[in-house]
Symmetry: C2
């Protein structure tokens, strides 16, 4: 708040005329950024869905703070809704049953958001120590690589696999694995179609 207020040559209090709190400001910025996503319609529906999720990931990854708060935001701006709609449409076009597709969109967005938040560096407070992504990973790397084979036998035995692959390879695999699982896994028996009450004509 103080940052954007300064950019606007005013005090932070002024912003509260347009926005109720920081979350609302973040939501507005995210929706704006998402509006700039152009649609690339190439390849199969899986390819397109992967591309769309990757675009979304890139937008969040480019703005550290946003990715972090996007998890808690549950934004509902027009561009966010349009993105959801496009993803749902692609799943349906792929022949995925509607219920699975609906819940699947949520899962895919959650994973993309979380992945972005994970990769986002902790803001690089000053110069000197930017705390790279690799640096953070290396702590886990070391732990896994030196894992005690008696206490954690599986980790020790598969360390190379666990730590292998590039970010991009893992991300692409993650998307495809999830899409496959979504398409193949039926919803629970009691169908989740019942809502408290959905008014036919909302006031507007």
């Amino acid at each position: 708040m103080r940052r954007v207020a300064q950019e606007l040559d005013t005090g932070p209090a002024s912003l509260y005329a347009y926005v109720r709190n920081t979350a609302e400001l973040h939501a507005a910025v995210l929706d704006e950024l998402l509006g700039a996503l152009e649609v690339r319609a190439r390849g199969s529906w899986v390819d397109r869905l992967e591309q769309l999720l990757t675009d979304y990931l890139m937008v969040l990854a480019g703005h550290t703070g946003l990715a972090r708060s996007a998890l808690l935001l549950r934004p509902s701006g027009p561009n966010v809704l349009a993105l959801y709609d496009r993803m749902l449409g692609l799943l349906l076009a792929g022949g995925v049953e509607a219920g699975r597709a609906s819940w699947g969109v949520d899962l895919l967005v959650l994973t993309a958001t979380a992945t972005a938040a994970e990769h986002a560096a902790p803001e690089a407070t000053d110069a000197d120590a930017p705390v790279t992504d690799d640096e953070k990973a290396s702590a886990v790397d070391r732990a896994v690589r030196t894992a005690d084979p008696t206490r954690t036998p599986h980790l020790a035995h598969h360390a190379a696999l666990l730590l292998g692959g590039t970010h991009e390879q893992r991300w692409r695999w993650t998307v495809r694995a999830q899409i496959a699982g979504i398409a193949a896994t039926p919803l629970p028996d009691a169908p989740a179609t019942a809502l408290p009450d959905a008014p036919n004509s909302p006031e507007d």
Copy 2:
């Protein structure tokens, strides 16, 4: 930091003798909490894996702040590693190919952590307005329920499905869908077995 320092009847500066920063403190607390997870060995390997992930989710969901930072933490304490090992073991016991199992553990933990962070309420600053989970959801609910059928046709048509189901139903489906996808999706062609260099005898 100030909070736990007060609990210990001292100033916040004293903690820096034991911990380098807040992240390290969070990691230590998380590892401690994870140590208290008892193993429930009931049902199939899928049931057991689901149970384990749900236990992990519950621990994080019970401690708002932790869930939030667990995403960026990449903790590597002994109890975290033990949890990873157990999950990897269950996937392998289920006949999942080792490479997919390795990357799958990462995905499952990411989803569980992100789900916990999402559900965690924004700290309830004061009394009066605790900002319930439902209250936050209702903003999305309203947006989806009143979605413009021309701009977002799929959302409008499947609103009931999108918003349906309990938290528990959706969580269980998410876990099972991901396990199915992990088991079914092969790693990229160039096998991710090559690591920069893994020293055989690390200094200790």
